[in-house]
């Protein structure tokens, strides 16, 4: 049983999430069921609990019970529900089987945002210490790193130094120029990468090829605060990038191939003296302006398909740019979905990939429709522009023996660069 003190604390958290949009989402669902086929988890596994409206109801029933007169006077009419340990289990099941891809918003006649409703579930789970610990740990580590930058700075710079030779291998530089500039005041672009050579080397080589005045951020782009649904931690992780961009007086913050990082930065940073762009947008721009050239025969004979990362395409608006790049890389590009807004989620978003082996089985089962979609294109190369998608698609490739080559779009651009 949940004691009153805990419940009150959780309800306070619930209250903190209420605003105009959230109230509209909580109040309006008519449970018409049009969203039934929207969720890839339901489409793959066929269980009612994975229908978007069903997920909403898990949150909505608690809302009715504690925030609506109707739920207090006559709870059974709306099946209003007590907030209990059992309810937390249900919230976990709903929130951590949802990738926040927002495909269901394309089905709902009112456009109810399931990801928003699941953010209530995630916050209640944090309050009840029932969230996936690994996500909180990752968020805390990330915040700690940001706090004690001086301690990490040296090892970070040493690590970067080791990567420089790799960058030069991809693109030769004039003598004396730094392959990975760091902490450059007045740079035009601040590039925010992930911890990992694959996120830095291709991007750096392409910046250098385009003759860009850029600098690498000290911080990781990924926002584990957003995955675990903790608004305070999300803000802390976001703010330090904003502050760095302001300190260096950059004109543009370019986010690496990471969907959540891009969307959080683009949509939550508010009005700032810099623009926010996705790496894909920057690469398309370079091609358009003739600042980089690519060899169109590099991937000849291999049909290529592109997976639109939900947070970058449907939720972030970067849709034409990857296609523009791919038209330069191949004459055999196969679309996955007639309308990118209806592209199936890979099944790895919302922190699900970060849970690793723990939910691998679920991630594989729940993304069967994605596998079918990829296979229907007949592509040999499956490219994408998001870390989570890349990991999940690689896992799917192994599990279902799809036999495709899963690649980051930036890595294809760098491989096709013409010196």
């Amino acid at each position: 049983m949940m004691d009153k003190k805990t419940r009150d604390a959780l309800l306070k958290l619930f209250q903190s999430k209420l605003n105009e949009a959230m109230s509209l989402y909580l109040e309006t669902c008519t449970r018409c069921g049009i969203c039934t086929e929207a969720c890839h988890v339901y489409a793959s596994m066929g269980q009612v609990k994975y229908i978007s409206a069903y997920r909403h109801e898990i949150v909505r029933r608690i809302y009715k019970r504690y925030f609506k007169g109707r739920g207090k006077i006559w709870p059974s009419v709306g099946e209003a529900k007590e907030l209990s340990e059992m309810a937390l289990d249900e919230l976990y099941e709903a929130a951590y089987s949802c990738t926040g891809c927002r495909r269901c918003m394309m089905f709902c006649p009112f456009g109810i945002d399931t990801q928003m409703l699941m953010s209530i579930a995630k916050l209640l789970l944090i309050g009840g210490h029932a969230e996936p610990e690994v996500l909180t740990m990752l968020a805390d580590t990330s915040i700690e790193k940001g706090k004690s930058l001086e301690i990490f700075k040296e090892s970070f710079l040493a690590g970067i130094k080791r990567l420089e030779a790799e960058v030069v291998k991809k693109w030769r530089l004039e003598a004396g120029k730094k392959a990975i500039p760091v902490d450059v005041e007045g740079a035009d672009i601040l590039y925010v990468a992930l911890a990992g050579a694959h996120s830095i080397i291709p991007a750096a080589a392409i910046f250098n090829a385009a003759g860009e005045n850029w600098t690498l951020s000290f911080f990781e782009a990924v926002n584990f605060g957003a995955f675990v649904g903790d608004p305070t931690k999300t803000r802390l992780i976001l703010d330090r990038i904003i502050n760095e961009a302001k300190r260096l007086k950059v004109k543009e913050v370019c986010i690496c191939e990471c969907g959540t990082a891009f969307r959080v930065m683009k949509q939550m940073s508010g009005k700032q003296p810099f623009e926010v762009s996705a790496l894909t947008e920057v690469h398309a721009r370079y091609l358009k302006e003739g600042r980089i050239k690519v060899d169109t025969s590099k991937f000849k004979g291999k049909p290529i398909t592109y997976h639109d990362p939900c947070q970058i395409a449907r939720n972030g608006g970067v849709i034409d740019e990857p296609r523009y790049i791919l038209r330069h890389l191949t004459d055999d590009f196969q679309e996955m979905s007639v309308d990118p807004r209806y592209n199936w989620c890979c099944g790895g978003g919302g922190g699900l990939v970060a849970l690793g082996e723990d939910n691998l089985d679920f991630r594989m089962k729940s993304a069967k429709v994605k596998v079918d979609q990829v296979q229907a294109t007949g592509a040999e190369i499956l490219t994408t522009a998001c870390e989570n998608c890349h990991t999940q698609l690689s896992n799917l490739n192994d599990h279902y023996k799809m036999g495709v080559d899963v690649r980051f779009l930036s890595s294809m651009v760098v491989d096709a660069l013409v010196q």
Partner: protein, 245 residues
Amino acid sequence: MSPSTKEASVDIVYYIVLVPMAYIACVIFVVGTAVRLVKLFLEPRHPATLQIFPERRPRWLWALGDTFLLPSVRRHKPFFWVVLMLFHLAFLLLIIGHIELIAEIKPLQVIPHEVFLGRGFVGLILSLALLYFLFRRFVSPTKDLSVPEDYYLLILLFLTILFGSQMDWARRWYGYDSITVDSYREYLSSLLALKPYVSSDLTAPGHSFMLVLHIFFANLFLMVFPFSQIMHSFFSLPMNKLRRG
């Protein structure tokens, strides 16, 4: 109980439904809806955009299209879309029809028609559509999503419309003429003028039973309106605007 006292007590019940309950229902409907709308739109805005891309401009026009033409339903459930569109169009005609039952409104006679408009088909479409909405909730997976209030609401609306339409059908299709449009006008306009008058036509034994039941269920409907999912009639447009950015 003698026949006369029986009649008197029935008259009292009729009067309660036709006058005080109707007033109470209207007050709850207007005040309840207004309070809910004001409270909701006074809440702070969400700090980030909630839109879906690619963006289409002008956004408000696309949001209007999404709200009134239900393109997402047409795409995914075409038959449901046809029924929904028929239902909502018929509901609009139903509202116009009731306005004409209060007073004669000249501009509405651009297309000359007899009051109540629709030759009885407005009510028929609404009744059939409601039965469809109700029965589809008996089938999985919509059954698993539904909660009791979804059924209660559809049943309440069905009863309201059935008894209302029944009066229309009786006049239209069976030549019943004891209660005329003028009797309804007299009653409704007197309510509106705050000088309630219930003529003996309306309460005379026989068909009046249908009228009283119609008004009774309509009163209940108005009373639950502000607290139910029917508020989507007001919320749909701002929500679709959120999706369009």
